[in-house]
């Protein structure tokens, strides 16, 4: 790779909006359903914890109020957070790197050199298949945190990205 090309390689936040891609809007639905499921499980667990608390002398009214508050909070998170995440999520792939910019509370800019990608898979979990989405799994060497998932892709786009990365590796 010649020097000029290297120097031109931009910083993730400098990549023009055209180059940076967003995820499919359907992914918001996927995330909402996933977080709804998780919130539901949490609610059930809390219910089992709260009922004995009634025995501790807390008034039924207070317990109900707390439960209502929790439900409202979880509802807000389920509705708001996925959309906020989608708005923040941007990525780009070039000859040398995969750039990802995401995170709602903690902003994150991630750079993965193509040369470190040991393999790249397309994954379609049941919910993703239902919604017509796919995700790209990028594996680097090392441990639990080494696999990066790029969700919310149109299947065709996912395959295209995968081919591009594999071609760039040669």
């Amino acid at each position: 790779m010649d020097a000029t090309q290297q120097d031109v390689a931009p910083l993730p936040h400098e990549l023009p909006e055209g180059v940076l891609e967003a995820l499919e809007p359907t992914v918001v639905t996927q995330w909402r359903l996933e977080s709804l499921w998780r919130a539901g499980v949490l609610l059930v667990v809390l219910l089992f914890g709260v009922v004995p608390a009634a025995g501790l002398g807390m008034g039924a009214g207070a317990i109900l109020a707390i439960l209502l508050l929790l439900v409202l909070l979880m509802g807000a998170v389920v509705l708001w957070y996925p959309r906020a995440r989608h708005r923040r999520f941007r990525f780009a792939v070039d000859q040398r790197f995969l750039y990802v910019r995401d995170g709602v509370l903690v902003h994150r800019e991630k750079v993965i050199p193509v040369s470190r990608m040991q393999h790249v898979d397309i994954q379609r979990r049941p919910l993703e298949r239902l919604l017509g989405l796919a995700s790209l799994s990028v594996h680097t060497a090392g441990g639990a945190g080494a696999t990066f998932r790029l969700p919310g892709l149109a299947p065709a786009r996912g395959e295209e990205l995968r081919s591009r990365i594999l071609a760039a590796k040669e």
């Binding site: 994150r108 050199p113 040369s115 040991q118 393999h119 060497a141 090392g142 441990g143 639990a144």
Partner: protein, 503 residues
Amino acid sequence: MAEHEAAPGARGETVLAEGRLHPATLLLRLAALARRFVIFAVIVAIQMARGEGGGFWALFFALALLVAAGTALVDYLHYRYRLTTRELQITRGAISRRERRIPVDRIQDLSSVRSPLHRLLGVVKVTVETASGGREAEADIDAISPADADRLREALQRVGGAAPEAAEVGPDEPLLRLGTGALLLRGLTDNRAGLLLGGAAYLLDAALDVTGVDPLESMQRVLERVVGTAASTNLLVLILAGGVVALAVLAVGWILSALATWLRFHGFTLVERDGVFQRRFGLLTTQAHSLPRRRIQALRIEQTWLRLLVGVAVMRTDNAGSAAEGSREAASRSVFVPAGRPDHLAALVPTILPGADLQDTPWARTSPKIVRRFAVRGLVLGAAVGAVALFFVGPVALTALLLAIPFAAAGALALRRLGYALDLEHLRVRWGIVGLYRAVVPLRAVQSVELRRSPFERLQGLGRIVLHVAGGASVTVPNLPLADARTLLVRLGRGAADHPFVL
């Protein structure tokens, strides 16, 4: 050493080495059982002395011992190991055969461990280490004859798996040899008091029941005699007595811990041969480990505040196994050199990672805003504590807000320590508040780089860089002004792309 001829294996694979356990294994298993059951036996004896169902426990204990001994015999009779060109197979079990298969290219090291009993019986325990084993070995063969162990190691070397381990230290000049002083310093600055306190508590309790003598009471009487006055203020003397006992226990535990470290690492020697580092240590139990340079993903020199004071440091490495496709490597942070003078260890760095040097580093500084961040944390903590204390001591509780001051001081100390340096080959990072921690990461080890900004960091225009290396470990450079963080992100990304990753 007789040549072991390759023979066709069950599936037509070439078998390079195979064997069974040495008969001495039975004695070793018996000894291990005895060790484990000693603690049990002591507890049973104490329970019997207390008069709490001793007979039942003794019977249960005897039965358990019998079952364990029988299991050990059966295991010995059916244990087989076999090395083919592709994997190491360990098969055991009589009724249900369990087969452990470790691909050759995942084997990072075949270490040998010899306890005094091993040496007495003339056997060696071979531990198979892969990256995903973490601190424990993936498998071990306990025990085989040294000749079989050498044969196994040579066969593995031929297949290109593990690094060779020298039978003798050889004519090479050791890179490092540790004396008793350094090891004792390391042991004395360890922190294992908690475990011993637990044991001590049980013993004190049992002593009371068994002997009918309250150790605290007897201490109190001794103190009375020493102090010379009648213990009119019982509470005070009791507290003093309790304090003395606790201190005594801690002191004994401290010394025992130091002794244990000295025993474990006695005679530590570090040698390099053909890009492989070999470490030998141990007095009662001797161990030999090898680590190829290319598997080192990060090198750390660490000193807690106590070690800084005393002038001893510990060198650790983050390692990774082979780059087999699709393998899940786990982080394995291991102690590379257990103790040493910080300047000696720093001088070793260029030998371990050529091109890296911790001695004259032009450390780049981070943002002074960290002092404010720490102060805010102190303020928040003070407010929380004060709010609670308000109910107990009234408005005086507001002085808790003054916590911001020591926190700010900690922030200033942290700022003084924080530094980073990125050159063409390595990233060096320095941090700590009262301790000193340094890390060197070769750019070939970098797997991905992240720039993270929490809401507070965003508010202050700061960010942190998190670097992931193979094996799952990571190195963080915190408290960076945003522009510096972004520059570092790009330079690290490019640096990683410019250096191929090879294991």
